[in-house]
């Protein structure tokens, strides 16, 4: 549950129409479903209508043949009820499943296309909740509410018509009672919606507290904080209990109120009917039917009013789903593609279109030029100012500087996780905005500080770098990253299955795996963003040989906290507040006795 998720849709009509557009893939199911539901509910009205002639045949006409014939007709109608209900529900369920299936698929593939900035600016919890709770709610509504509402409307209208035919006077009693029912539903609905909101608020507060405490549970233990935590929890829990009780009370009250009001109606109709019979204005059979109708007409009203809250919540959820689907996807207007079998690295070339359908081939080299680059995640806040640099193919360029200096941002721009606003980045002399994203990224590998692994085996995870890598290549890469040793010691070696995000490995081991994953991809450009920060200095030394091999012949960008990692770079850029304040190799910078020097002497805190 999330903090302030809307319970009501802002524009229900638009959302509803868009939802309906999903049915066009399942036109037959939709039309058929509604048709069968109509058949079923009409048949149900018909079955009730048959009661009157059947009883009259017995009581008034005392005609056994007529009675039997009516019974047979009723039997036939019952068959229609069953068929209508079954296929109506089946089709609606299929429709709901197909729709939700399609929505899930659309959402997922849209999610895969969204720019990284979207994920950086939205909490995962929110997206996850849209994916799960909102889709779930929609599914339930499509499955139940839609058919229920159709049934209800038909039942109410059909029953109403039958009532008027049977007795307009008694119908008048019914109508006045229905008005009372509507008013009480409205009153209760109003009462419960504010209570409902209260409940949501304290539920959100509770969930937030639980999340925080469970995440810090070990700290709680270390500080003997348990009793105080239990006390705090108790207060919040009590508050939630009161709010929930209150919110639910109005909700569940609806049932007995509606049920019993319908009995009052039943009593009034009985009395009125009795008078009419005595005045010979109505037959007993008709009263029996009419009474049955009073029962059938109040049930759908209760049901719909019960469903209304769910339905609104589902529509609000659908609105959030569509909002996600409306998010702009990554821009990719590149016309430069990679071509095989030519003279560049890995036998690859850039195919640069020139006029009249011709191509100019530029061999893939791995040179990066950044010219007059300015960048801000928001227009007001500039993160990078006037960055200029040139990385020759195979060079190692390092960025150092405190958190927020803009180190990671530069690498975010090179592989176009974010789009640059001012200045340019050129790859082998081609503006990267002209290069197809797929091809651009297929020549780059990135190793991040926060290692993320996938459910699957160790081998699967390394192979993520290149799907067609052979087992030998996978092991080769693992050896390069010095991961082979610990993998061999796992229960099933390379076939050991990692739980979600590799939680059963240590941070250092995970980092080694991600280095192996980057190695197997055989990239032209390598980006190491704090890639060895969780590995201790001794292990780092052990893998440094592998890292050197990995970086050999590849243009490498290194971001490191630990300065030992960047020492042997061709060039070191010291960033501060988005500007390069010092540049040069280690020796140059040490001589300069500036920022880099003091970082090395350990008199400055990097954070």
């Amino acid at each position: 549950m999330n903090k302030h998720r809307q319970l009501r849709p802002k524009d229900p009509k638009k959302t509803l129409l868009r939802l309906f557009s999903y049915f066009k893939f399942n036109k037959m199911l939709f039309i058929g479903g509604i048709l069968f539901i109509i058949i079923g509910s009409l048949a149900e009205i018909g079955a009730n209508a048959m009661l009157s002639p059947i009883i009259d045949a017995l009581v008034v006409y005392r005609d056994m043949n007529l009675f039997i014939r009516y019974l047979l007709v009723m039997g036939l109608i019952v068959v229609f009820i069953a068929i209508g209900l079954y296929y109506g529900n089946l089709f609606m369920a299929k429709l709901a499943q197909n729709t939700v299936h399609k929505i899930r698929e659309d959402m997922f593939s849209h999610m895969e296309k969204l720019p990284v900035s979207y994920f950086d600016s939205h909490t995962h919890g929110d997206l996850m909740s849209t994916f799960t709770n909102d889709v779930d709610m929609l599914n339930q509504s499509l499955e139940q509410s839609v058919s229920q509402i159709i049934i209800s409307v038909i039942t109410v209208v059909g029953t109403f018509i039958m009532m008027i035919i049977l007795s307009p006077i008694l119908t008048l009693i019914v109508v006045s009672m229905l008005v009372i029912m509507f008013l009480s539903i409205k009153y209760i609905g109003k009462k419960s919606s504010s209570n409902f909101r209260n409940q949501q608020l304290s539920l959100a507060g509770m969930n937030g507290y639980i999340e925080e405490m469970m995440s810090g549970q070990k700290v709680v233990k270390v500080f003997n904080y348990e009793d105080r935590a239990i006390g705090d929890f108790n207060n919040k829990n009590e508050e939630l209990r009161k709010a929930s009780t209150q919110a639910a009370t109005y909700g569940v009250m609806l049932m007995p109120i509606m049920g019993n009001l319908s009995f009052v109606l039943y009593a009034l109709v009985s009395m009125g009917g009795a008078f009419l019979v005595m005045k010979n204005k109505m037959s007993i059979g008709n009263i029996a039917s009419f009474l049955q109708y009073t029962r059938t007409i109040s049930r759908p009203i209760t049901q719909v009013s019960n469903q209304l809250n769910t339905l609104f919540a589902a529509l609000a959820g659908a609105e959030r789903i569509f909002n996600v689907l409306d998010e702009e996807i990554e821009i990719d207007q590149g016309d430069v593609e990679l071509a095989k079998d030519c003279t560049g690295k890995n036998n690859l070339c850039w195919n640069v279109p020139v006029s009249n359908g011709e191509y100019e081939q530029i061999p893939l080299n791995g040179a990066i030029t950044i010219k007059n680059l300015d960048f801000g995640y928001t227009p007001e806040q500039i993160v990078l100012k006037n960055i200029n640099l040139y990385a020759k193919p195979g060079q190692k360029i390092a960025f150092v500087g405190s958190t927020g200096a803009g180190k990671t941002t530069i690498t975010n721009l090179i592989n176009r996780f974010y789009e640059i606003s001012d200045g340019s980045i050129e790859y082998d002399g081609i503006d990267i905005r002209r290069i197809k994203k797929y091809d651009l990224r297929s020549t780059m590998s990135i190793v991040l500080q926060d290692v993320h692994l996938f459910e699957g085996t160790i081998a699967d995870n390394i192979r993520y770098g290149r799907l067609d890598a052979t087992d030998e290549e996978v092991i080769e890469a693992a050896k390069l990253a010095n991961a082979h040793y610990f993998i061999k010691h796992l229960p099933q070696g390379y076939d050991t299955v990692l739980s979600a995000d590799g939680l059963n490995l240590s941070q250092g081991e995970r980092q080694l795996l991600s280095i192996a994953r980057a190695a197997v991809a055989d990239p032209t450009i390598l980006i190491l963003d704090e890639a060895t920060s969780s590995v201790d200095t001794r292990t780092e030394k052990l893998i440094s040989e592998g890292m050197d091999k990995l970086m050999e012949g590849r243009t490498t960008f290194v971001i490191a906290h630990r300065l030992s990692t960047v020492r042997d770079s061709n060039a070191i850029m010291v960033l501060e507040q988005g500007e390069i304040i010092e540049r040069g190799n280690h020796d140059d910078l040490m001589k300069l006795k500036g920022r880099y020097y003091s970082l090395n002497a350990g008199t400055l805190e990097l954070d």
């Binding site: 079955a47 299936h101 994916f131 709680v220 348990e226 569940v252 007995p256 005595m278 029996a288 954070d607």
Partner: protein, 574 residues
């Protein structure tokens, strides 16, 4: 579900009153159709208007009484249901507070959160529904049956056929659907897992161009989810049509057999009509019972998961009459071996060492050499598998756990601050601390220099997890929080890794000068953080590689020398 029943105790009053009032409501519901038959068969037949009005008013009164009882009953039901949920949540939370580190390792954080939130909510809803339906349905059925038999016993025998048939069908449908719904849940989990994974791993997916690959994976799981859902649904939707066939078949049979009695004159036509109403009520009640079972099904999965927590016992137990006071801060490990419950190999092997009270011990070694595991044995966060840990001259298992942990402060590697103010966070260490005491600790941990710059000083807001502080600041704050305890022993598990060298050196100096009688254990990656310690432990793959001071280790320990050299080439700042 059964294991949770005792938690209803506090709300028993409501849990009992809800169904009792419900029975009264049901009684009113039952009497209305009977009264109607009196209107038709007595009132109309005798043309007795006053009788009709009298009975009619009784009907209205019965319905109003029923409504009153119904409202109160549902109020009590909500009270009992949510009370029950709150009680279960409270007890579950309490149980988790008693968990040992080993217990916490067993359950992931996210699974604990789901259990406390979603599962507890489900339990409450199910309890509320059950209270209403489980009682209402059988009574409704019973009363309707009694009425039907009273009106016409021979006709009512039709129920003896209809009820068993309905029950059997319901049983079969539920039985078939049950495993499918469990399967459905695992399919849903699988779909959710891949979404979660892609959300956190999006940068990896994008940088390796694996969008299509992930979409394919998702499609497979999504398809399989739809398949299972449709299978489960196609069984469940059999319910309504079958039930309708049974209801109407019964009505037709009643009309057939009853109709003949009406013609003969042994049954009133009003009786026949009310009889039909009772049939509907009986069969509806059966449907309610089946819904009730479906609810139970839903609840039992949640109850099972909560029971898993409630049935977990902390393996760390206190002895009778435990000692409350640590004599001093001396520490001794005797032949200590330790193995994590989930692993096969020993994490710590035959550890032996001794330090005197007030000494400083540095621990260094590569990732995975079990440094953290070793120090976690001191405040009994885990219990040794073999050997013993002796603190203040006594095996740690002889102490009152709370007293032990109050006197051994521990700054965890994975540390967090909590939302609230800085003062509140500091008071974790000492509930009644004055501002002066807090400021003193902050000064000792070198945190006051930046805290004093905030306008709100100690009232500065801390965001969840302390996200508004930098790594180095957070580490200094957590050290200050530990100092608030005025401990005899303090353990810093890699707690200054993000603090710059100058500040780190200042902290070390304070520990040496102001806190010289506090035994200090420092785990660090950086040699400079520990090289001045009285003694240094070098850990390697769960064993002590060597033990001594800086100078002797430089001579005798190849690993220590390697680490030292790897950090000397102009690389000191981390």
């Amino acid at each position: 579900m059964k294991i949770l029943l005792p938690y209803m105790k506090k709300y028993m009053k409501y849990a009992v009153l809800c169904p009792i009032l419900m029975i009264l409501e049901v009684l009113a519901d039952i009497i209305v159709p009977y009264l109607m038959s009196r209107i038709v068969d007595v009132g109309i037949v005798n043309q007795d208007i006053s009788y009709i009005v009298k009975i009619g008013l009784i009907m209205v009164a019965a319905a109003l009484v029923g409504m009153l009882f119904g409202i109160i009953s549902s109020y009590f039901g909500a009270k009992a249901g949510f009370g029950f949920a709150a009680e279960v949540r409270q007890q579950t939370f309490k149980k988790i507070q008693g968990f040992s580190f080993a217990n916490l390792d067993e359950f992931t954080v996210s699974s604990l959160i789901t259990r406390l939130t979603n599962d507890c909510n489900t339990i409450g809803q199910v309890a509320m529904m059950s209270l209403r339906m489980a009682v209402r349905a059988p009574f409704l059925m019973l009363f309707a049956l009694i009425m039907a038999f009273r009106i016409n016993a021979s006709l009512a025998r039709i129920f003896l056929i209809a009820i068993p048939i309905t029950s059997i069908i319901i049983y079969f449908i539920l039985n078939k659907a049950r495993p499918l719904f469990f399967k459905l849940q695992t399919k849903v989990d699988k779909v959710n897992a891949i979404i979660q994974e892609n959300l956190t791993n999006i940068r990896v997916v994008k940088s390796f161009n694996r969008q299509k690959f992930e979409e394919k994976k998702f499609e497979d799981r999504n398809n399989s989810l739809r398949e299972t859902a449709l299978k489960a649904i196609s069984i469940i939707i059999l319910f309504m049509p079958i039930l309708n066939i049974i209801i109407y078949s019964t009505i037709i049979s009643i009309l057939w057999f009853g109709g003949q009695q009406v013609i003969v004159g042994t049954m009133g036509s009003g009786e026949l009509v009310s009889f039909i109403t009772y049939i509907t009520q009986v069969l509806m009640a059966l449907m309610m019972i089946s819904f009730f079972f479906m609810q139970l099904l839903r609840g039992s999965a949640s109850a099972g998961r909560i029971a898993e927590i409630l049935n977990t016992e902390s393996e760390i137990k206190e002895i009778n009459n435990p000692t409350r006071d640590l004599k001093d801060g001396s520490i001794k490990f005797e032949n200590v071996s330790f193995i994590y419950p989930s692993s096969k190999e020993n994490t710590l092997n035959n550890i032996n060492f001794k330090i005197k009270s007030g000494e400083t011990l540095g621990i260094i070694g590569s990732t995975g050499s079990s440094k953290s595991t070793l120090v976690q044995l001191i405040p009994r966060l885990y219990d040794v598998t073999e050997g013993s840990v002796i603190v203040g001259g006594l095996d740690v298992r002889n102490y009152d756990i709370k007293a032990l942990r109050d006197q051994v402060a521990f700054v965890l590697q994975k540390n967090t601050l909590f939302s609230g103010t800085l003062r509140e966070n500091m008071q974790w260490g000492n509930e009644n601390a004055t501002d002066e005491e807090i400021i003193k600790a902050l000064k000792q941990a070198q945190a006051w220099e930046f805290v004093s710059k905030y306008d709100d000083k100690l009232d500065t807001k801390v965001e969840q997890g302390g996200s508004n502080f930098s790594g180095g600041q957070k580490q200094r704050l957590t050290i200050a929080r530990a100092l608030m305890k005025s401990p005899k022993i303090i353990i810093l598990d890699d707690s200054t890794s993000a603090v710059d060298m100058t500040t780190d050196a200042k902290i070390q100096k304070i520990f040496k000068e102001e806190l010289h009688d506090v035994t200090t254990i420092i785990i660090a990656q950086r040699i400079s953080s520990i090289q001045h310690a009285d003694r240094i432990l070098v850990m390697h793959e769960g064993r002590i590689e060597s033990f001594g001071d800086h100078d002797s280790l430089m001579k005798n320990s190849s690993i220590y020398r390697e680490i030292y050299e790897s950090q000397q080439k102009g690389v000191v700042g981390e």
